[in-house]
């Protein structure tokens, strides 16, 4: 259970990026955070693991107040919060295996990590996760040799090897093509269910969010203006979040388009895991 209580952030420039956000995310729930650029979505996510230091309010993860922790305590708590990034944020010149294992840095000592002598259990888990995301055949490739979708799979594996309780996901599909975006969102949704993770996903693509998340939070100018199920996103609500625009067309067109595309791919539903696995393997073998 992740709780944000009256969370606020003012930058030195005087911008109030977040204005007292209250949010409660039960275990296993995926929340899609939508809103226009500059609404404070990235700030919100980064305030949870204090990559950005919040100015007011509390972040409570399973009864631990993250905002009052010392540097050492924060490091321990960050291990429980996996993070996935927009531009994947893999360390380009490290291998895939090193990138995945870097998710264990909070658990191993400096010399072990420096010499890349991770415990066998960590290495086993890394292989298992890479297999799960379909990349176990290329562990020694350098991260910058991968395609966007592959990079994001490594990013997901890195977050999961932390054995997190929470996933913080910042625009996971913003740099990906539509098909890969869906595969990635589907993978994230499955993994969250499997592992019962509370998850916040920042996402620009409203239609994509509607497909894979069970709850939508709309942020505008640092305040929550919508909190409800994906079906609740009516044109009126979208106007409230993003401003005046012809939303009817967007929503309709998108849902039709999605059905077509999925049928073309031969995938009936996101829950059909066999097909998904095949889907992933296909995507991986494609250059």
């Amino acid at each position: 259970m992740l709780q944000l209580q009256n969370l606020g952030k003012s930058y030195k420039t005087g911008d109030d990026a977040l204005k007292g956000v209250n949010l409660e995310i039960p275990d296993g729930q995926i929340v899609g955070l939508i809103g226009p650029s500059g609404a404070g979505k990235s700030t919100l996510i980064r305030c949870v693991n204090r990559l950005v230091e919040p100015t007011t309010g509390k972040v409570i993860l399973n009864d631990v107040d993250v905002t009052t922790l010392s540097a050492g305590g924060l490091r321990k708590e960050r291990r429980k919060m996996g993070m996935i990034f927009q531009e994947y944020a893999l360390v380009d010149r490290l291998t895939i295996m090193e990138n995945v294992l870097s998710g264990r840095l909070g658990y191993v000592g400096f010399w072990k990590s420096f010499l890349r002598k991770y415990p066998q259990s960590d290495v086993d888990e890394a292989f298992r996760l890479l297999e799960r995301v379909g990349l176990d055949h290329m562990v020694d490739k350098r991260a910058d040799e991968l395609s966007g979708g592959q990079k994001q799979r490594v990013g997901i594996a890195r977050a999961l090897i932390q054995d997190p309780e929470v996933l913080l996901i910042d625009e996971p599909t913003a740099s990906l093509d539509p098909k890969t975006s869906r595969q990635i969102m589907r993978l994230i949704a499955e993994l969250c269910k499997e592992r019962n993770l509370s998850t916040i996903v920042n996402i620009h693509d409203v239609a994509l969010a509607q497909m894979y998340v069970e709850r939508i939070v709309g942020l505008q100018l640092g305040e929550i203006v919508f909190d409800g199920p994906p079906e609740g996103l009516t044109p009126d609500v979208l106007t409230q979040i993003y401003g005046e625009e012809d939303w009817e067309a967007t929503i309709d067109e998108v849902s039709d388009d999605i059905d077509d595309d999925i049928n073309e791919d031969g995938i009936d539903s996101a829950k059909n895991t066999d097909k998904v696995a095949k889907d992933i393997t296909e995507a991986v073998s494609a250059p």
């Binding site: 990559l51 893999l90 360390v91 264990r104 840095l105 658990y107 420096f114």
Partner: protein, 267 residues
């Protein structure tokens, strides 16, 4: 499009908008150049005499003498190489922690200012001046040259490496930090891979610079092949001097080739 002017003209806007200031500056530069040129006091008779010696020198290049003073030359070159290698290695080892401290995105303000201070001092003084100081402190010989070059290597590497650290990709650094890594782990996983090619490139470039500098330092008594070269000139042994210069050029060329090869490899 207005019908009154069928073709509108366009000119690139001038760098200095004010016409008077623009032409005034131009005039000033021309006048100053002419005045400066005529303020040279050139002794043309002396130049004429010197032409002979210059020609001797050029002739010597067609007939360099490696043999007569080979012992001195080889000892000088060897000393230069020793100074180069030791000063580069020691300089880099000392420069790395200073670079970490001088990167504003890693170090707290006091550490940052302190490390930037070291860099500023190391870069403020020219190598020759430092060498003169070091010779005064440690006496003649290669030790003074070694310390001089190690000192200026620190300024060079630390400054450029710190700038590279400040330019790293922030998301990669954030990603490693968000795993709960410690500070040194963060340096090792997020920073080091990003700056390593630059560090290697700079280090090799610095070997090159240190070798060239080590052949000058001899002039102020700080060891190296410069002393041998100076002696050869003093004795009007242009053929020996030519041999030394040819060897320096050859070594610099080899270093140049090696460094471009390695820098292409580490990208």
């Amino acid at each position: 499009m207005s019908t009154a002017s069928p073709s509108r003209t366009w000119k690139r806007p001038p760098l200095i908008k004010d016409t008077k200031l623009r032409y005034g500056l131009l005039l000033f530069v021309i006048v100053y150049f002419i005045a400066a040129f005529f303020s040279y006091e050139v002794n043309w008779a002396r130049v004429y005499e010197g032409l002979d010696r210059g020609w001797e020198f050029i002739k010597a290049f067609s007939n360099p003498d490696f043999v007569t003073r080979w012992k001195d030359i080889s000892a000088g070159i060897w000393e230069s190489i020793v100074i180069t290698v030791t000063s580069t290695v020691v300089g880099i080892i000392l420069a790395i922690p200073i670079a970490l401290g001088a990167a504003s995105n890693l170090a707290p303000k006091p550490v940052y200012l302190f490390c930037r201070g070291i860099i500023a001092v190391a870069r403020a003084l020219h190598e020759i001046i430092v060498a003169i100081l070091m010779v005064a402190i440690f006496g003649f010989g290669p030790l003074a040259g070694f310390i001089t070059l190690a000192f200026s290597t620190i300024g060079f590497i630390a400054k450029l490496l710190a700038e590279d650290i400040e330019n790293i990709s922030k998301p990669q650094a954030e990603a490693v930090k968000s795993t709960g890594s410690g500070w040194w782990q963060w340096i090792n996983y997020a920073i080091q891979p990003q700056v390593m090619p630059r560090l290697i490139g700079l280090s090799i470039y610095r070997v090159d610079i240190n070798f060239r500098s080590s052949s000058i330092l001899g002039l102020v008594g700080a060891g190296g092949v410069g002393a041998t070269l100076n002696t050869a000139f003093d004795r009007y042994e242009f053929d020996t001097a030519a041999a030394i210069i040819i060897m320096i050029i050859a070594i610099v060329l080899v270093l140049e080739y090696v460094s471009s090869f390695i820098r292409a490899k580490v990208q």
